[in-house]
């Protein structure tokens, strides 16, 4: 299990670095958007003009030239008004977020495919291990109680220490995964089979 996670992680890092390497045309992070209204003949015409500005500037300087251009192009210019707004954005955040989203979705899809295709094969081995526990009445109850406690505290870091069973990390991960699978199974039963919730 942890192996596949590891591989996925490496895959993700490679993907991420590839994506970061492919730098497209640089997109400015600030612009001035001016909507200029003037009269052409008797009707009102609106023109849009977008100018990129350095970050420190604002639209005051841009508005002047725009007005001149408009003046130059129209003959019967009566009055022209430009409403300029300074707008800024951060393309790096957008890039970062979109890449993270792609990454998360692909991770989830890969994990889903893994659970659908490979896990039933791998699980045959684990099953035998698991039955031993449930045979013992007391320990299975205890098991349930601990389940209850740790499932109620879902935050990382507050999980109940499970020193009594196999203390190595792999076992614990496997155990957590089993517990989670049982919970999801229960949720599926509630929603898709019995239709008691979220209809």
């Amino acid at each position: 299990m942890s192996l596949s996670f590891h591989q996925l992680f490496v895959f993700g890092v490679i993907l991420l670095s590839c994506v970061l390497y492919v730098q497209g045309q640089s997109y400015e992070d600030a612009r001035c958007k001016c909507v200029c209204t003037y009269k052409n003949g008797t009707r009102l015409v609106k023109k849009l003009r977008v100018t990129s500005v350095p970050l420190s500037n604002d639209c005051d300087e841009v508005a002047g030239p725009v007005e001149e251009i408009v003046h130059g192009n129209t003959t019967q210019e009566m009055c022209s008004r430009c409403e300029c707004t300074y707008e800024s954005r951060n393309t790096n955040i957008i890039k970062f977020v979109v890449i993270i989203v792609i990454w998360v979705i692909s991770l989830l899809v890969i994990y889903m495919l893994f659970l659908i295709c490979l896990d039933p094969l791998l699980n045959k081995r684990v099953k035998g291990n698991y039955v031993e526990h449930t045979n013992d009445d007391v320990s299975s109850r205890e098991f349930k109680i601990i389940d209850d406690i740790s499932s109620s505290s879902q935050a990382p870091g507050t999980s109940h220490p499970m020193g009594m069973r196999g203390s190595n990390v792999l076992n614990r991960v496997g155990h957590q995964q089993d517990k989670w699978k049982r919970q999801v199974q229960e949720q599926r039963k509630n929603i898709y089979d019995r239709h008691t919730m979220l209809n």
Binding site: K47, V50, S52, R89, I94, M112, I145, Y192
Partner: protein
């Protein structure tokens, strides 16, 4: 359990008068005062006397214990108002204890899945913990710091919730808008930009507004594949790509939800409402739900389905609140306290969904929260503020606003326009009722029939139909948020056929309102879009993908409003001499169709959800104009009246009812003349399972646990007298017995189980050591008499947040009323199936 509890009385009986309560909720306080008499009599008579016999330790002894061993605090008498002696803090020098507020037996104070919480018990537990910390504050610097941390942890927690919620909302906004545009094309040079961002700084030369929509940097799929942008071939290629992407996104969303977190489907607001009213749904606010809901909502919005991400944002924020509350044991381990954080989180959710912090707080207050003291109001306010600020600084849409359809409005409205606004409210209410009825019918059909067995197929079919029908109509092809933006905006800022007026020079002044060909066509398309959206939303809401309702209902109302607005405008343009249009408005220029769209949107949303105050505030925060409060209020009110007259409840309450969640609505009145004895369990001639305080053997208790399925057992003095001592919750009893089996030596089947510290008959000299369980006993259960009218009982349940109440007659225990009994009774008198209540 060979520990000697030392009791430190936390105050004399005099200091526990009702005046010293710390409860902030005025209602709770009032009702508690009413019920105080009953309770204190019970506790004084039966429980209190036992406790008072325990010696009170001096402060010195307490310090000794503090320094020598770990401390445990245990709440014995839950309701500290229940008689002077019933409350106390127990310190015991123990060896296996973890932290200050943990109970001795792990898991006590938690609840099982699908159970209701006992607000009183949890609040009393928290008060005990708080008192303990305050008491220790003077002892050392470390304790002082701990006390300070405890005091500010609520604020810290909501701060973190706000920060994370803002961040997650930013990610969802950016991701969803990018993926939505992926259906149409790609920005080849920077694939991570959506269409608007791709063309953001495109036009270096001046352009007219219509050109700004097609920039050369954005390439549609037909351009990439067929290298042409016009003609039938290009249309077909784009059409196919549109459908293919929609199906891909929808299938991903549905299968991710099915695979990882089935609880992530739906809007989540009915469930959040139920949870906040004191219900436990394990895993509903877990981390997998958070991840899958966030990813799933991006996918399902991008799939072009008729749904929005605003409702699920409330669920997402609540998940964040739940997860982060575990960082603070004060909230993580106390379900009643945790709900304060969840209320604040819900406010943050709406705050980021609409960029409306105040609206979010009011939404939490009006719609979702059940218990909302002032302290929570301030925390919600702060949480919403932080979340809105974070989202604003992420600036996901590049327009300096947190929503795509933000519009700036400053046009005045005429007085006579209130009439069409109220008319819009009525239309909105009617549409909302049609929608609710149809949607409920469809959801019930899905629940009962074979359709429910094919959740993923259903999603795919609906997506395919939506995509196929939506693409040819430009108004349904664009994303719903964009459509709302278009409907809300004024002519001149956007270029659309909706604004295609012909200029007629013969009319002096403003000849610009003569409708062009494009306008008629646009209105026709809008009517088609209205029908299409209404039908698809009925089928979409309730599918097994994350889906919200705000955006579709805003859109429905927006379309209606825009059409009505155009109608009124043309009326004023064509008949300028009607007296209402005379004066300033003789040309029709004063009518702004966008404003009508806004009012219509508010009307439909108000009709669907039955919100009023929060809806108006959200709408005016969306538009940044305080000027339109009156029109919005008029429409929201009219819509609510019409909605209430035609249909009984809003969509969320209807879904709560459909699912049978145990939600005791505090808005509805209970008007039946039943008495407690009619509702009480057990019915006549059935025995009541009770425990006795000092005469039951261990095996008898175990046998009773095996034979019955009750969630709690009253404890009486003896089977003969039936005098009430207290109440034990099944889960606590189970945990305590498991714990005793593990830790206690010499426990045999014939050991006595004692729920009292001073048994009436002394133990036989050679008997096995008794199992002492007095610590898990609630000595102050709420009791009523059998002649109490049910109105009072229901009020007590609502306002005190009770889980059960015991019914006595002449001081003897007669029966028990649980929340489940009340809900079933209400269903029964409403002629509905009482077994549909989801409850354990």
């Amino acid at each position: 359990m060979e520990k000697r509890p030392l009791k430190v009385s936390s105050g004399s009986a005099a200091s526990n008068t009702p005046a010293s309560y710390h409860a902030t909720d005025e209602k709770v306080r009032r009702i508690r005062r009413l019920s105080n008499d009953l309770v204190s009599i019970t506790a004084d008579q039966y429980g209190g006397s036992n406790l008072r016999s325990i010696s009170v330790s001096s402060d010195d002894e307490m310090i000794d214990i503090t320094t020598s061993g770990t401390m445990t605090e245990h709440t014995l008498g839950d309701h500290h108002h229940g008689g002077g002696g019933a409350c106390g803090v127990y310190f015991s020098g123990g060896e296996s204890l973890v932290s200050v507020d943990s109970d001795e037996i792990p898991g006590i104070g938690q609840y099982e899945d699908f159970h209701t919480i006992d607000w009183q018990r949890d609040i009393a537990r928290d008060r005990m913990r708080h008192r303990y910390i305050v008491k220790r504050k003077q002892k050392s610097i470390c304790d002082l710091v701990r006390g300070a941390h405890d005091a500010w942890s609520g604020w810290l927690c909501v701060l973190l919730v706000g920060l994370v919620t803002g961040g997650v909302a930013g990610v969802i906004d950016i991701g969803a808008s990018w993926m939505s545009d992926l259906k149409f094309g790609l920005c080849p040079q920077a694939f991570w930009l959506n269409k608007e961002q791709c063309c953001w700084s495109w036009s270096s030369n001046e352009t007219s507004i219509e050109d700004s929509r097609n920039c050369s940097q954005w390439m549609s799929w037909s351009e990439i594949i067929a290298e042409s942008n016009t003609g039938a071939g290009a249309f077909i290629v784009s059409y196919i790509f549109f459908i293919a992407w929609a199906l891909l996104f929808a299938s991903l969303a549905a299968s991710l939800v099915r695979m990882f977190a089935p609880y992530a489907c739906g809007s989540g607001i009915p469930e959040i409402k139920t949870i906040l009213s004191g219900f436990i749904i394990r895993g509903y606010l877990g981390k997998w739900t958070l991840i899958i809901k966030s990813v799933g909502i991006m996918l399902s919005v991008s799939a072009g389905l008729s749904l929005g991400k605003e409702g699920p944002m409330v669920h997402i924020a609540s998940c964040i609140g739940n997860i982060l509350s575990y960082l603070f044991p004060k909230y993580g381990r106390n379900e009643a306290k945790k709900r304060e954080i969840l209320s604040a989180a819900a406010a943050a959710g709406v705050s980021v969904a609409f960029g409306a912090p105040i609206g979010g707080v009011l939404f939490s207050l009006e719609e979702v929260s059940y218990y909302f003291p002032l302290k929570t109001l301030w925390r919600s306010f702060f949480c919403a503020l932080v979340a809105a600020f974070v989202l604003h600084s992420i600036n996901p849409f590049g327009n300096e606003h947190s929503v795509l359809f933000y519009v700036e409005y400053n046009k005045p409205f005429m007085f006579f326009e209130l009439i069409p606004f109220i008319g819009l409210g009525i239309i909105g209410g009617v549409i909302a009722v049609i929608f609710i009825k149809a949607n409920l019918y469809w959801c019930r059909y899905r629940k009962m029939s074979r359709l429910g067995q094919y959740p993923v197929t259903e999603v795919l079919v609906v997506t395919a139909v939506t995509a196929v029908v939506a693409y040819p109509n430009p108004y349904t092809r664009m994303s719903t948020s964009q459509l709302i933006y278009l409907l809300f905006s004024q002519c001149g800022t956007v270029k659309d056929p909706l604004c295609s007026y012909q200029f007629d020079p013969t009319l002096n002044g403003s000849g610009g309102l003569k409708p062009g060909e494009g306008l008629y066509w646009a209105v026709f398309l809008l009517i088609l879009a209205l029908i299409f959206k209404l039908v698809t939303t009925v089928f979409t809401f309730g599918m097994k993908v994350p889906c919200g309702l705000f955006i579709p209902s805003l859109c429905l109302g927006g379309i209606v409003g825009r059409i009505v607005g155009i109608g009124v405008q043309q009326l004023a343009f064509n008949y300028p001499h009607i007296w209402i249009f005379s004066g300033e408005c003789s040309t029709g220029e004063c009518i702004t169709p966008g404003l009508y769209a806004m009012v219509g949107a508010a009307a439909v949303l108000g009709g669907v959800t039955r919100m009023t105050v929060s809806l108006v505030v959200i709408m005016f925060e969306l538009t940044g104009g305080v000027r339109y409060i009156v029109p919005l209020m008029a429409a929201a009110m009219a819509s609510k009246w019409v909605g209430d007259a035609l249909g009984r409840s809003g969509i969320y309450d209807a879904h709560i009812n459909l699912n049978g969640y145990p939600f005791l609505d505090s808005k509805e009145e209970f008007t039946h003349t039943a008495l407690a004895a009619d509702v009480m369990q057990p019915k006549r001639s059935e025995p009541l399972s009770v425990l006795t305080q000092d005469s039951m053997a261990f095996e008898e208790v175990e046998a009773m646990l095996k034979e019955t399925e009750h969630n709690g057992f009253p404890v009486v003095v003896s089977h003969e007298s039936q005098y009430l001592v207290g109440f034990v919750i099944r889960r606590d009893l189970n945990l305590a017995i498991e714990n005793a089996k593990r830790t206690m030596t010499g426990l045999r089947n014939n050991s006595l189980v004692l729920f009292t510290t001073s048994p009436q008959s002394p133990l036989a000299p050679h008997s096995p050591p008794p199992l002492r369980l007095e610590k898990i006993l609630d000595l102050a259960p709420i009791t009523i008499t059998d002649q109490t009218p049910m109105e009072t009982v229901v009020d007590m349940f609502r306002k005190l947040g009770l889980r059960q109440t015991l019914v006595t007659h002449n001081g003897r225990l007669l029966g028990i009323i649980t929340k489940k009994d009340i809900l079933r009774y209400i269903k029964q008198i409403d002629n509905e199936d009482p077994s549909s209540v989801l409850f354990n």
